[in-house]
Each structure stands twice: as structure tokens, then as C-alpha cells.
């Protein structure tokens, strides 16, 4: 697992957020006619992700809506549980994809 995989997971979640919020944006007067294009881009980004990681993301997205969550001050911002030192010391490099031991969400370090 490398940095590219994590970046693709973040991109996938950003796309999912856009799709979910397109109706709200439409109400504000923004153009959203190209939403189908985004579905295609989502597929392309998804193809760059390891299949087992993608399945894990889809499962988490269905359960929590946010499958990838930031870590701030060594706290998972999905369930607000402090992460063990063994994860926080290695996770900051974002080279290895870690999951929260409490909620299972995929972690992304902001600092």
C-alpha cells in the first residue's frame, strides 16, 4: 500500500461528497447538469485502488457516509477515540493505510 492508494481513496470520498451534495447545490443556483460525468470519473479513480481496499471503502461509505476520516492531535475524527502510539508514529507519513481500531474507518493524517 502506498501514498497513491490513500490519495485515490481521499479523491473517491471527495467525489462521493460532491454527488451527495449536488441537489443542495442545485437549490443554491449552481449548475449540476454534468453529474453523470462525475460518476465516470468515480469509476476511473476506483480502478486505481486495490480491490480489497476499494471494497473496504465502499462498506465504510455505506455505513458511515465518510469512509476516510482525518486524524488530528492523534484522535480519529470519525469516532473521536485517541489512537495508539504504534499507529500515530507511523501513520503521519501517510505511506501505510491504517484503520481506526475502534470504528474501522480509514485514517488520513492532517498534520
Amino acid at each position: 500500500m502506498d501514498d497513491k492508494q490513500l490519495r485515490c481513496l481521499v479523491a473517491l470520498q471527495d467525489i462521493d461528497n460532491m454527488i451527495l451534495e449536488s441537489e443542495n447545490e442545485k437549490k443554491l443556483g449552481f449548475k449540476t447538469k454534468g453529474i453523470n460525468k462525475l460518476q465516470k470519473i468515480r469509476e476511473e479513480v476506483g480502478q486505481q485502488i486495490n480491490p480489497s481496499m476499494l471494497r473496504a471503502y465502499e462498506r465504510l461509505h455505506k455505513k458511515y457516509r465518510r469512509g476516510v476520516v482525518p486524524v488530528k492531535n492523534n484522535i480519529c475524527l470519525g469516532c473521536f477515540v485517541k489512537l495508539p502510539t504504534s499507529i500515530t508514529t507511523r501513520g503521519k507519513e501517510n505511506i501505510v493505510v491504517f484503520s481506526c481500531e475502534n470504528c474501522g474507518r480509514i485514517l488520513y493524517w492532517l498534520d
Binding site: R7, V10, A11, Q13, D14, I15, N17, M18, E21, S22, N24, L28, G29, F30, K31, T32, K33, G34, I35, K37, L38, I41, R66, V68, V69, P70, K72, N94, Y108, W109, L110, D111
Partner: protein, 154 residues
């Protein structure tokens, strides 16, 4: 959202009075680079990718020379707002087909506890519907003049 909360999202370091770029994608990149220069973001390229993908759904040019590129990404810890003004006429595929010279960039984390992103975006669109505000904004050359113009439309 009261006026102080609303104006509190604009920071002087994120006020750009003279954008240099001449195309939509270059403007997005220039503004994201400005954020990266003024903050400690770990990976600003994810923001740029998100904003470009958002433009694929439909242009964020709302007409009258204004664009509001926006979206959510995990790459930012808090809501960030950047304003840039340009002497150039930038083709943005805006709703009225007219070029853009004022750009408000709004980036929010996927979920905020206070959930201010959409109300903030809605309020901004509402304020920018005022012809008087738009005229004052285009003439604003300092951050103070800029916030006064926005406050006038609140």
C-alpha cells in the same frame, strides 16, 4: 449565521487583489497555491483536483463576473475562503456566458461540527445577487473595503 460569523470566514492573508492567471484552470491553481503558501496544508494538490472535478459537474460561474469554485475535501481541517480579483476577463463558462473577474474559493472539510459550509455558501450567493455589492467589490482594493462591501449586502 450573523454578520460577524460570516465575515469571520474571510482572512486578509486570503485576499488577492490582483490575480495574474488568464484561464479558469490557472486561476484555480493560482488560488490553491496561495492557500498552500499561507498555511500548513499537507497536500494542496488534492484540493486542486477536487475543484477541477467540481467544475466537471457544471461551472461555478454564477454570472455578473463572479465565480465561486467550492467543495469539500478531507485535505483541509477547517473551512477556508479565498477571494481573488483580476484585471483580466477570465472565460469560466459562467451561467450568463460572460467572463469572470471576481473569484470566491470556498473549501470545507467533509463534515464540520458546526455545519456552516452550505449556509455560508448560500448567504454568499444571496449577498452577491446585489448589484450594489458587486460594484463595490470590483472597486475594493483593500481587505477593509472588501469586507465593508460584503457587510453592506448582509
Amino acid at each position: 449565521m450573523n454578520i460577524d460569523e460570516f465575515l469571520g470566514y474571510f482572512k486578509e492573508e486570503f485576499f488577492i487583489k490582483d490575480l495574474k492567471s488568464k484561464s479558469k484552470n490557472d486561476i484555480l491553481e493560482e488560488m490553491v497555491n496561495h492557500i498552500a503558501d499561507q498555511s500548513t496544508l499537507k497536500d494542496s494538490t488534492l484540493i486542486l483536483e477536487m475543484l477541477k472535478r467540481r467544475e466537471e459537474i457544471g461551472s461555478t460561474g454564477i454570472g455578473h463576473g463572479i465565480a465561486i469554485p467550492h467543495g469539500r475535501t478531507i485535505s483541509v481541517p477547517d473551512l477556508i475562503t479565498v477571494y481573488g480579483k483580476s484585471a483580466n476577463s477570465i472565460e469560466f463558462d459562467a451561467i450568463d456566458k460572460k467572463p469572470v473577474n471576481m473569484v470566491f474559493m470556498i473549501i470545507a472539510p467533509p463534515q464540520e461540527q458546526s455545519n456552516t459550509y452550505l449556509p455560508f455558501l448560500g448567504k454568499l450567493v444571496d449577498i452577491l445577487n446585489s448589484k450594489k455589492v458587486r460594484k463595490e467589490l470590483i472597486n475594493a482594493n483593500t481587505f477593509e473595503e472588501f469586507t465593508l462591501a460584503l457587510a453592506g449586502g448582509f
